[in-house]
Amino acid sequence: MNSVKLWAAQRCRLSLDSTESLQSLSAFRRMTALQKAVLLSFARVAAAQPLALVYAREMQAPLYFTSTYGELGPMLRVTQSIIEHDLPVSPKDFQHSVLNASVAYLAMNHAWHQAAFAFSGGFMAPDSTLHLASRRIESGLERACIVIHAHEHQSKQTDDAEAEILILGSQQPDSPYLTLDESRWTVAEETFAEADPGRRIFREEDSNASIPWLIEDGKLLRKRLLMSRTRQALVTTWIPS
């Protein structure tokens, strides 16, 4: 079994961050907030941790994109248009409503020809995608993976979305500082609570549609448990190396 290292991690909120550096990207003005947030986060990784990206490209890392609710803006506009019989629907909104639109623009703008997978994981989205990426690296199916998690905020501002990107790999390229240790699908909440007082529990029923981001205040939570309404559970533990 290969160990899974974290090579890079960045989280950016579009409404708070300048997008000047992205204006020259292909189709930037056509993009939704979610798509822009993904490209912005990727640009931040490229600027802050360029070696990680170089290694990821060399190791043919696939893109694993996930979002709890996906492209909210285009979906809402298309569904409202249908309800109001305001037809035809916008072709641009329809093609942007698919869950893999963000990762497709990312691939196009960076000529990333490795496979791009779009996962709908609901409340469990970030951890379940991370779980798959880590298991695939552990088992030797991949040497590196890029995990992208994004959400569009429904605030009054236009273009308000957020994305986080984690690059995982099996080898230590430069200065990896964490290891994804454990991740499982069935766990007793009590056992988890007893096991480690430093943990954090996210429950879907308490979440009021808030998103369980992997990175908070610039850091990964050392140990976290996500629990869905249907009692699916995932534990993610990071161990400093």
């Binding site: 893109l63 569904t79 699908w185």
Partner: protein, 377 residues
């Protein structure tokens, strides 16, 4: 992608499905061989748009239809019936610990009912969408429903990479079983007709208003349809098959990184996808006896895919473009065409030495997947 250590055969050990061409191996096989279309102008959306659509035989499934927005209930009811049927045929839910069984769902519009409800509420009450976000507005709600109903404790993932969704789901399931991440897996391809996709594809001007004709000069676009497909994926030693089964030899997935809705016109990335699958299967193109192309009937797809197939296999190869009969089932298409490839290859398993088939799925955003299968007796 690096190789995993296991070289054991991974097979499609069983299937259950509902398509516009029927719900049994026999009815689907007969329709495919006779060229019967499962498409019709008479359907539950005919007062919305006069185009041919491929509907499931809902009455045969014992499911009553509601209004045009009532999609997730019928999808979930049908899915539970089909998973029960798959278990009756294969015993897959009983032969493995439920924590060792993976569930891989491919769908594009599961959860769309929740979006229509939110849009309606917002229109009526002007509420912020943030307050209307619910768990049923996610494609993953089908997987959660199935996991809950059948007490599945293993990992589940929902792929929603447009029309390559269930092909990607099958690929990841294949990897998971061969690498030991899961002992066995259930792959689901699921999409039912709804107003979002009907009006969306109409707006893109890619719906053929008569019957679709993939790869024909007169082609004008796609016919939409619905399908639910369940495939059991296991290691071969675990399978007690009476007859032929289909081995999954390999798959290859890549991103075209070319355009949101169009393939590269010369088909170079489609060719690269097929080449990758053949390479991983250690096969030469001439060893492939059956090809199920993506073959949507759109000008752009069929032109690019023809160029790609010619580049790999030479000109004059016969393509079994089954969307002409089944319609385009979007997120379910990859699983449905894998299933059709299985049926066709299993038919030849006793008589043919070279019994390898290739199936293509190419989705929006340049999500390309090609599979190589082998029918074995």
């Amino acid at each position: 992608m690096t190789a995993v250590t296991t070289r054991e055969d991974i097979v499609v050990s069983g299937m259950s499905f509902a398509t516009s061409l029927g719900c049994s191996n026999r009815s689907l096989r007969e329709a495919l061989l006779s060229g019967s279309r499962g498409l019709s102008f008479e359907h539950r959306f005919s007062d919305q748009l006069a185009v041919p659509l491929g509907e499931l035989p809902w009455a045969e499934l014992g499911i009553s239809l509601g209004d045009p927005f009532d999609t997730d209930r019928i999808l979930q009811e049908a899915a539970k019936i089909l998973l029960s049927e798959l278990n009756q045929k294969t015993g897959i839910l009983n032969r493995y610990a439920k924590s060792k069984l993976g569930l891989f769902v491919g769908t594009t519009t599961s959860g769309i009912r929740g979006f229509f409800r939110a849009a309606e509420l917002q229109k009526r009450h002007g509420s912020s969408l943030e307050k209307l976000l619910e768990a049923d507005m996610q494609q993953a709600c089908l997987a959660s429903e199935l996991a809950d109903a059948f007490s599945l404790l293993g990992p589940n993932w929902t792929l929603s990479s447009s029309c390559a969704a269930s092909a990607q789901a099958l690929g990841l399931a294949f990897d998971s079983v061969r690498s030991g991440m899961c002992e066995a897996a259930i792959v689901v391809g699921a999409d039912v007709l709804n107003l979002l996709t009907i009006f969306g594809f109409e707006a893109l001007q890619v719906l053929d208003h008569s019957f679709c004709e993939p790869f024909q000069p007169q082609r004008r676009g796609i016919n939409l349809a619905e399908a639910l497909v369940f495939l059991a994926i296991e290691r071969r030693p675990e399978v007690e098959a009476d007859g032929a089964v289909t081995r999954i030899c390999s798959y290859h997935a890549l991103s075209e990184a070319y355009h949101m809705t169009q393939p590269a016109p010369d088909g170079r990335w489609m060719a690269e996808t097929m080449r990758g699958a053949l390479l991983k299967a250690s096969l030469d193109p001439e060893e492939i006896s059956y090809i199920n192309p993506h073959g949507t009937g759109t000008e752009a797809n069929d032109k690019a895919e023809s160029a790609a197939v010619s580049a790999i296999f030479g000109t004059g190869r016969q393509l079994h473009a089954s969307k002409r009969l089944t319609g385009h089932t979007l997120g379910a298409a990859g699983a449905l065409e894998a299933l059709i490839s299985c049926l066709m290859l299993e038919d030849q398993a006793h008589s043919s030495k070279n019994n390898f088939g290739l199936s293509n799925s190419f989705g929006f955003g340049g999500a390309n997947v090609s599979f190589v299968f082998e029918g074995v007796s």
